[in-house]
């Protein structure tokens, strides 16, 4: 496809596929009439157990993901619930660190765009410019920093923009329309709609806030709008995709990995989400 991007922030129009691989992949899925599926995995989890953790990444990607979000574990993950906290602690105990995770990503070919999710202190410690350059070098398309709200995003986003890394911004149900408007303008790749007021983790039912925030964002932007946090089952994914362009699935998948340590079991779960949202 040969879309060009013309945006209200006055950025020059660029061929989309070269400038923004994540946004391109998600727009392509949407253009085909499909919904986007972005699974989340904790980087470095079970390194050296039954093969490398990037084997799980490969299987998950091949099971129908449009992109994969990879967490670089942090000691104090305030946006994460118990499952991803546990995965982070295990990965850290196994010696996971940012250069190690990025090196592993550089040497694997997942076949879909990758987004790194981590907390700002790891990036700050690395140095914003250096971290952005390392993402680029490792073939990572995008970054998601859940403890960097709009007001603090300037220094990181400048570095990411300069390096050609897409920064996905989060948008929460508590934001005003005016604030959501500024968030979608600053977001690259997609807009991450936080489905509920709370931290990551599985919930019994889809929160009523999930479709509401997706709808509010869809009215403000043509960027893909994906809902994450609290999307626990294929049924919930289908339900939220009545409004949203897709979903991010984290804790449900990470719990499967923690429980089974099996790349096949992980792929099977992702495939079940894929099949469900394809059926609609």
């Amino acid at each position: 496809m040969s879309d060009v991007v013309v945006r209200p922030d006055g950025e020059p129009a660029l061929p989309l596929e070269t400038a923004r691989p994540l946004e391109t992949a998600l727009r392509s899925q949407r253009a085909r009439g499909g919904k986007c599926l972005v699974p989340y995995l904790t980087g470095g989890l079970f390194t050296g157990a039954d093969g490398d953790w990037t084997d799980v990444l490969g299987s998950v990607a091949a099971a129908g993901a449009d992109a994969v979000e990879v967490g670089i574990p942090f000691s104090d993950p305030v946006m994460d619930g118990p499952v991803i906290q546990e995965a982070s602690e295990l990965a850290l105990a196994d010696g996971a660190n940012p250069p190690g995770v990025l090196d592993a990503l550089a040497s694997c070919d997942a076949g879909v765009p990758l987004a790194v999710m981590t907390y700002v202190n790891l990036v700050h410690r690395f140095g914003y410019e250096r971290f952005a350059a390392e993402l680029r070098r490792s073939g990572v398309a995008a970054a998601i920093l859940p403890d960097v709200p709009l007001e603090e995003s300037g220094p990181w986003c400048d570095a990411a923009d300069a390096a050609g890394v897409e920064t996905v911004m989060l948008a929460a149900p508590t934001a005003s329309e005016e604030r959501l408007g500024r968030i979608v303008v600053r977001s690259r790749g997609f807009v991450y709609a936080v489905g509920l007021m709370g931290v990551t983790g599985e919930r019994d039912a889809l929160a009523s806030s999930a479709k509401v925030i997706a709808g509010r964002l869809k009215a403000l932007t043509d960027l893909p709008v994906l809902v994450g946090v609290g999307i626990s089952t294929p049924e919930q994914a289908v339900e939220v995709c009545e409004v949203a362009d897709g979903v991010v699935v984290g804790s449900a998948l990470v719990r499967r990995v923690l429980e089974t340590r099996s790349q096949d079991a992980a792929a099977e779960l992702v495939a079940s989400f894929r099949a469900a949202i394809d059926r609609g």
């Binding site: 104090d76 850290l92 940012p98 250069p99 700050h124 410690r125 929460a172």
Partner: protein
Amino acid sequence: MPPVTEAVPAFGDGLMGEPDRTGRFGPYGGRFVPESLMPALQELEAAFRDAWADASFHAELDELLHSYAGRPSPLTECHRLSEHLGCRVLLKREDLNHTGSHKINNVLGQALLARRMGKTRLLAETGAGQHGVATATAAALFGMDCLVYMGEVDMARQELNVFRMRLLGAEVAPASSGSRTLKDAVNEAMRDWVATVETSHYCLGSVMGPHPYPWMVRELHRVIGDEARAQCDQLLGGPPDVVVACVGGGSNAAGIFSGFADVPGVELVGVEPVGGAAIGGGTPGIVHGMHSYLKQDEFGQVVEAQSISAGLDYPGVGPEHSHLADMGRARYEPVADEEVVEAFVLLSRTEGIIPALESAHALAWVMRARAELAGRSVLVNLSGRGDKDVAQMMDVLADRL
């Protein structure tokens, strides 16, 4: 590289005044929180500005501080300790406040503010339990629900305070991840707040976290410094030579420093536990919503603090302290657990005052620096009383007593 955003001039009254519009003291501070919390922080800042400019809010708070918390707290001259150390030691007696520490100053202010904002539930983190007890107390006083997160390790070593909080009607929830101490209790409180922000006020217990907390909590403790300044004028005919306070997050230090920061020549000394010395042993980083000095490893993972005192067992420090340190306006000295134990015993034996282990850090530095302090006047913020630490110290001192 500090993530300084726009260069906004401070619009306050200079040293220990207001932070800039991004919530920074120099390069430190800011609001590094999940997007879900930003509207709540903006609402809180607006509510605090409004209340702090409202004479009726001050009147109500002052009345509570006086008739409920027991302020003003006295200034005690330590004759026997002074003779022993060779310097003139004065104690600002925050240990005599209701609930046994300075923490009540902040909590009464935030509880009033929460009520004004229509919030019905107070959330708090606690280390030694002093802030948790103070918050539970205010919740009982105002008829609010209260949930206090406390590290599992701290719940074990501060059993008495856990019971006090429950007696006061609060729920105490264990923080069982990470180091299971104060840092993890802050994480749990922030996670809870993300989910309950519409009804809950996060009653943060120190001059840390995202803006406006470092500024608001310091303003609510400014009463310590203001009172001490007037009391020193009366007793000494002017300010003391040195002002000393322990620093974990740094709230009691910020409170007493704020009364003297603008007096040239008054030395300000913050005392950190050697195992939790963010300024003495850390580098600038970002955690718990703020950019400040932090104990972290080469990759930016937060390093677990180690201290005999649960209240100072924290790897970070309030951003204004980082700024005061960089400017050279205050200096920060580490003391070891063994020195703290000696100070704990010394004050008990010379003055009949059992200090909190936290406050004993400040005294431990005075003991160590006695040569440098000879003949000078030293104001120590005795931030809390030691009753809560007696069970723990029975083991430590078993062979000596």
